[in-house]
Amino acid sequence: MLSDVWDYLPNLLRGVIITLEITGGAAVVGLFTAFASGLMARSSLRIVRIVARVYVEVFRGTSAVVQLFWIFFVLPLLVGWQLFPIWAGILALGLNIGAYGSEVVRGSIRAVPRGQSEAAVALSFSPADRLRRIILPQAWVGMIPPFGNLLIELLKGSALVSLITVSELTFVGQGLRQLEGNTALIYSVVLIMYFILAYLITMGMRFLERRAKASLGMRPVASSKPSDKLIQDVPS
């Protein structure tokens, strides 16, 4: 039985690469739309806020599968050109995850202590500079854990793209199963592979979070006397 696994491995690993491509591509799309809509939601212009809100409500309120099918089957009928399945998958998953990411962006920006933006106002930073140099670097740390969870959701969502015939891991598994039988073994191996990928993503996110926290808490000390190191909590 285990020798069979060895035989299946090359195909499965090819599927893993496609899975990673889809997950990565959708993550980029999602990151972009999450920040765009998260920041648009804070605009002083009502129409901008409404556009962001509509995007978030529509993509969070409908099923990811349905969105995928809509983009792959319906969009071509309306606009005339057909996306390659893998691009349809990346677009659909990215837009979907971006809607959830938008809430994360908004929430962590809100969580930055008000005193920080007040100090930035007091120093006459422009609103753009305020966001770029003061608020976002601090908000970023809080975004990493929820983004990590969303990335795992993306990984699981990539399996959906098998339904529009993209040869990612699940599709390969289905194909192998139809050729070889051995259903229980193949599906088990596929599940284990997803589990390993999810675990690696979680580890990666934890590393990122540690690094981001470090840039906020500790900086290299060039010269300071030990007696001066009195750490006091900054009251917010």
């Binding site: 599968v65 349905v66 089957f73 319906v74 990984l155 339904l163 699940t170 599906y187 599940l191 997803y194």
Partner: protein
């Protein structure tokens, strides 16, 4: 209601035709597809049964994870983490092709699909809900546990009379949100032959090629139902606060 199929032209699938929506919802007697309302009913069944499984099983998982008996907590943690981190789609395949046929050999395929589908849904979301329960239980002040020890309350009573009544109200909004999320994942069940909404849209589409109306209507149904069901969740959030 009888619809004259000739009025709904098969050409020009790019343009929207409302009569096609009507066909989808009220198919003519000889149609090769079922009414979308059937799919809606199956979707609701799946959501309700899946939710019951998830809510009950999730609580069991959460309590097991906090058990002081190491094998119990370790098993629960392993199961929860494994199911949470892997795609529902593959889990459905595994249930439908491997587990349900071996456990329910006599059953017809259609029912097997429903059993596999509803159970898979419930099991997958039970793992999410177990995390929500854990957060709620952890949020109960430590003093409550100490008080129960001081009063020598039996284990079961500790849970039913003291801990859970405090933990559960606060997590209701989160549980509600997961039920809505589950509702939106029901379409996955079409892959194992459960005739929910997307299945109906697909069979309509493959007969008439009018995918546009079919899938869009399914999307709109989901959107409308999500928005409507979000309202009681908002009320719960306002009442019990965020977790």
């Amino acid at each position: 209601m009888i619809v004259v199929t000739e009025a709904c032209t098969p050409e020009d699938t790019g343009k929207w035709e409302w009569c096609r929506v009507d066909e989808l919802l009220n198919p003519p007697p000889d149609a090769a597809w079922n009414s979308l309302y059937n799919g809606l009913w199956i979707t609701i069944q799946a959501t309700v049964i899946g939710a019951i499984i998830a809510i009950v099983l999730g609580l069991i998982f959460a309590i097991m994870r906090r058990s002081s008996v190491r094998p119990v907590s370790w098993t629960a943690t392993a199961i929860v983490e494994f199911i949470r981190s892997t795609p529902l789609l593959v889990q459905l395949f595994f249930l439908f092709f491997v587990i349900v046929p071996t456990l329910f050999t006599g059953m017809d395929v259609e029912t097997q699909a429903k059993v596999a589908g509803f159970t898979g849904l419930g099991l997958h979301y039970a793992t999410y809900m177990s995390e929500v329960y854990r957060a709620g239980i952890d949020g109960v002040p430590k003093g409550q546990w100490e008080a129960t020890t001081a009063l020598s309350l039996p284990r079961v009573r500790v849970w039913t009379s003291v801990i859970l009544p405090q933990a559960i109200p606060r997590v209701l909004p989160a549980l509600g949100n997961y039920v809505i999320a589950m509702f939106k994942e029901v379409p996955l069940l079409f892959t194992i032959g459960v005739t929910e909404m997307l299945f109906d849209a697909q069979s309509y589409g493959s007969s008439t090629f009018h995918y546009t109306e079919a899938i869009t209507v399914v999307g709109v149904f989901f959107l409308v139902i999500s928005i409507i069901t979000a309202i009681p969740i908002r009320l719960l959030e306002r009442r019990y606060g965020h977790l």
